[in-house]
């Protein structure tokens, strides 16, 4: 698998004032891989995401996407390079409709400026129509048809999570970061989410980085898992390896499951 590395994270260290949030974190994600990160609250999982996104600037370390350096780039630049993300507590634009949210995912693929937008008839309108078509494909994939014109704020939680995935997908990402996609869902919704994640991963071939507390979800879906605690890597390996790792059980899982 070494020949198809998509993401290489090397020696990541992040400090806030005196607190070290991440220390010497290194891992790789392969093309098409579903890679999960587990660990207790405050272990640094979301911090890793924020570094990948460019929201935080790590003091030490390098992040490479393919042969592009991500460290030091702005979130906007990183988004354009093909890193998409969902948020732990939802990052949707709640006053906009589902369709508008998804169209926003295509923002960096569109051209319309303030000026051409104001003129509307012409390029702006053509582009709206073209992008609408691609968004409809994603709406179909994630079965969001009934909600298209509804403001996100009016939707049930489970649907909102799906909309966020749809928006991330609309960005045509090479790497998708999912922050607790199953949190707060019941079993049925979790199963649905699992199915979407597999479809996106297997059929569209998008590599994914997944943070999740539901151990069954993670163990069942992930190709490889990385366990972190206090900003350090405890173990990296297949689900079976990580599940059996003594330090992981001690810091996170409690009883071997």
């Amino acid at each position: 698998m070494n020949e198809s590395r998509l993401l290489r994270v090397h020696d990541l260290t992040l400090r806030f004032g005196g607190v070290t949030a991440l220390s010497e974190v290194s891992f790789d994600v392969n093309e098409g891989e579903l890679f999960a990160i587990i660990g207790p609250n405050g272990a640094g999982k979301t911090s890793i995401f924020n570094c990948l996104n460019g929201i935080y600037r790590p003091q030490v370390g390098r992040i490479m996407l393919g042969d592009q350096e991500l460290t030091g780039r702005s979130p906007v630049a990183i988004a354009k390079l093909g890193v998409a993300r969902t948020f732990q507590n939802l990052g949707l634009f709640s006053n906009l409709t589902v369709l508008e949210n998804i169209l926003l995912g295509r923002h960096h693929l569109m051209r319309t400026s303030l000026l051409t937008g104001a003129l509307w008839w012409g390029p702006a309108r053509r582009e709206e129509l073209a992008q609408r078509r691609s968004c409809e494909d994603i709406i179909e994939l994630l079965e969001l048809e009934p909600y298209r014109f509804l403001p996100v704020a009016m939707l049930p939680y489970g649907v909102r999570k799906r909309v966020e995935v749809a928006r991330a997908l609309a960005m045509q990402p090479r790497l998708l970061l999912l922050d607790e996609p199953a949190a707060g869902m019941n079993l049925e919704e979790t199963e649905d989410m699992a199915r979407y994640i597999r479809e996106i991963n297997e059929e569209l071939g998008v590599a994914m980085l997944l943070v999740e507390h539901d151990m069954h979800f993670v163990m069942d879906l992930a190709h490889r898992i990385m366990a972190v605690d206090f900003g350090r890597v405890l173990a990296i390996g297949t689900p079976d390896v990580v599940r059996a790792d003594a330090s992981v059980i001690d810091a996170y899982l409690g009883v071997a499951s």
């Binding site: 979301t46 924020n50 948020f87």
Partner: protein
Amino acid sequence: MTDFAQYLLAGLALGSVYSLICLAFVVVYRATGVVNFSQGGLVVFGAYATYQLIAWRVPFVLAVALAALVTAAVGMLIERLVLRRLVGQPVFASILITLGVLFVLEQLCTTLWGYNLRILGDPWGVRTLALAGVTIKVVDLWTIAASAAALIGFFLGFRYSRLGIAMRAAASDPEAALAHGVSPQMIQGIAWGMAGILAVVAGVFIASGSRGVDLTVSAVALRAFPAAILGGLDSTEGAVAGGLIVGLVEVMSAAYLTPNAPWLGSNVHVVIPYILMIAVMLVRPYGLFGTAEVRRA
């Protein structure tokens, strides 16, 4: 040198008045998250109320105390009638509504007292002391003392008292506070009451001596805004520090900048505090003493 000492004193006294107004901003802001544009209305109402009581031959100290009570009641009434319904509304809503309250308070004052200048009748008048060639206005001493006392009182109260802790809790998470029996409405009412009391103290100092009370007294509150922001809207120490800084900067720029840099235009001392505020904001977006809002991804 004497002049400089004179300016220093004037700046401190002016800064103390600003501090009192800023303290009122801070108290209301912490309890309600609202920037209170109507504080000037409370100040002018408080000054008129004090004038009226003195005109009725109530002794000065008692008049101020009674006026403070009345103005505190007005503050609580405003909270009760208007602001209570405003919890959770966006910023522009609270701005408009407190401005609306300002208009109503000003109209109330003109309805009750008309438009003519009224001399307050305070005991300080224009009395002065002299110290090494520097003239010290008696009223300035009292102004500085009053704002120092207010600062210490508020600081200790917020830190240690049961009510102070409850007020901070309600500021941090009103719903959680309510769930533990701290009614945010009570806290907000108390905060507006305090704003009323502070307004009277500030108003009395502003209108003292030969200045007198008229509608323009309320404009001082607007001049105090940069001070509140400079110090940090949620910090009592910041209110006092910001007030003093702006007071000093204003007097000093009137004293040294206006005559030496005429190209800056006349009355540049009105603008300098705002420029200073903007400069500080760019470096410390939450003021010198304010706490940064913790934003998580």
